[in-house]
Point group: C2
Chain length 326, copies 2
């Protein structure tokens, strides 16, 4: 079998990855903590087929173009180098959520690609090695390799990968993603990371991360949303403060983004425990306990500007499936 | 004559004042640079009248309550101490713009109160002394004392006041204030200043200010909006990054705030040179040359969520007038 199919979930970071310590190796400027999102999936099939002149990459039914294609081919090259093969591949990938709007599609995409391509190429990689390899393609992909709640730390190429903090079943947390924009963002995360250091606020955020991360880890281990939530909001706003003050300035928010942020805080004052976070995009991730999720989702759907709400519990790690997309 | 009336304009800061080095003296954590706004005025009449049991303070036709009244009385006490009188005063003040929405009503209010009360009490104060006295009531009021473009710097009580960088006639700059909210903000500037230091980003912003201030001063002196604008946007966003990440977090923006920020940047890409800044509130100050002001105002008025646009050129310093509000 030179063909394999893998499924992965994107993840939402509680402590964000923004800025790189090493560009080519995707070593992050700071450790990060995340939860995989069970409700959102990327499925990717890879087949290494003899006689192909070039890799064929199809994403959501369309041939991948330019940078998107190049990133996939570059990652296939990493897998080929490890497997000592020069066969080209057929790749098909499908997301059940909109790409490029802060929903971390590259995380699930490259986690799934790493496992599918690795298996199709005959590599045997443990979770740490998979996470480390996925990191090379997209930093946050290393967290999607690991199921449940994942901590990405480590300083060098060998040690920088994600490890599980707690399995999906540990905590019935919910992430309700309020979709307020579906357009592909102007500046993607990859370019954005390179701008982080241009913000006068970046170093201060990085200095604050270890303290926030320790609080967030304790809160996850204690399943304590009232402790986790304020920390998560603080780091998300710090990251967006860095983004807005980078050069050029990145303003990912839409008007409805602010509407959701304000609504979440107002609901909390009314006793509904919901907290927000945002990735590099306009959509707002709203965290709550499973028992409050229906009420929170109902309220989110009533907000003007909220186009959809995608609900997720904690998702599993990247895994092989026995069907394919061809 | 124990009665005097003064008129003052609020000011918009190009480099912001956020956070204090000395609470009671209103010494700022950083120097700031502003322009007075000719189109917005506060008029204040003060009369020290023998036999009054207490100060009477009427703002926009209503007796001032609680904190607002206390701030005025405390400032009258400063004037009384300088004038060695214990007479109580009648104070009437009127704004022609909405208070408490980031339009710096306290700046014009306390600039006008300082001159009116000082004159009514028989004090003779030069501009520097007026600015210094106004600072004690409200930091940014010291800038409204000075006409045109004002730099507030100085480290101690004696030296911390605003000086003119250029008179109003020096540069036909326009500030178009896009009003997106009229509600009084939840957390006023006075409480907000005290929270600045709780943000992990605050020290980094303060470190960046001297460099930005030097660029902004050069740009004002060269009447170079294309140099001034990016610096002004950068410091405004840095200040809001600090606000959002303070503890508790201050989110002054409304959905329409973001709509204006994005529109301004989009217009700039189309060739209309407009730049934004924001004070501690949701309204967006849009800076442009006088020649572009009509076009910019027309576009602003068409944006959903923009309730009104208040246009100002550079305003004069605080001045006495020969009518009164009684």
């Amino acid at each position: 079998m030179d063909k394999a199919t893998a499924v992965a979930n994107p993840n939402i970071a509680f402590i964000k990855y923004w800025g790189k310590a090493h560009e080519a190796l995707n070593l992050p400027a700071n450790p990060s903590l995340s939860m995989n999102l069970a409700g959102l999936t990327t499925v990717t099939t890879v087949e290494f087929r003899p006689g192909l002149a070039a890799d064929s990459v199809v994403i959501d039914g369309e041939p991948a173009q330019d940078q998107a294609r190049q990133r996939v081919v570059a990652h296939l090259d990493r897998v080929r180098a490890l497997a000592r093969t020069d066969r080209r591949a057929l790749v098909a990938s499908r997301n059940d959520f909109p790409a490029g709007t802060g929903l971390a599609s590259s995380a699930s995409a490259f986690a799934a690609l790493t496992l599918a391509a690795g298996r199709a190429a005959g590599l045997v990689l443990d979770e740490g090695a998979l996470s480390r390899l996925a990191r090379r393609a997209s930093g946050s992909a290393c967290r999607s390799v690991v199921g449940g709640f994942a901590l990405w730390e480590g300083d060098g190429d060998e040690t920088s990968f994600a490890r599980q903090v707690a399995p999906p079943s540990f905590w019935e947390l919910r992430d309700l993603v309020a979709i307020v924009g579906r357009e592909h963002k102007g500046v993607g995360s990859q370019q954005g990371h390179a701008l982080a250091a241009s913000s006068p606020l970046n170093a201060a955020r990085l200095e604050a991360v270890p303290g926030l991360l320790a609080l967030a880890l304790d809160a996850v281990r204690a399943r304590d949303l009232s402790a986790l939530g304020p920390v998560v909001e603080a780091d998300a706003l710090a990251m967006h403060g860095v983004m807005m003050t980078s050069w050029p300035s990145l303003l990912y928010w839409l008007p409805a983004t602010v509407a959701v942020l304000r609504a979440v805080r107002a609901w909390r004052e009314e006793g509904l425990d919901v907290f927000f976070t945002l990735d590099a995009g306009p959509n707002v991730h709203c965290l709550c306990e499973a028992a409050r999720a229906d009420e929170a989702e109902r309220r989110l759907r009533r907000l003007p500007g909220v186009l959809d709400v995608l609900a997720s519990g904690p998702g599993g790690g990247v895994r092989l499936v026995d069907y394919d997309l061809f």
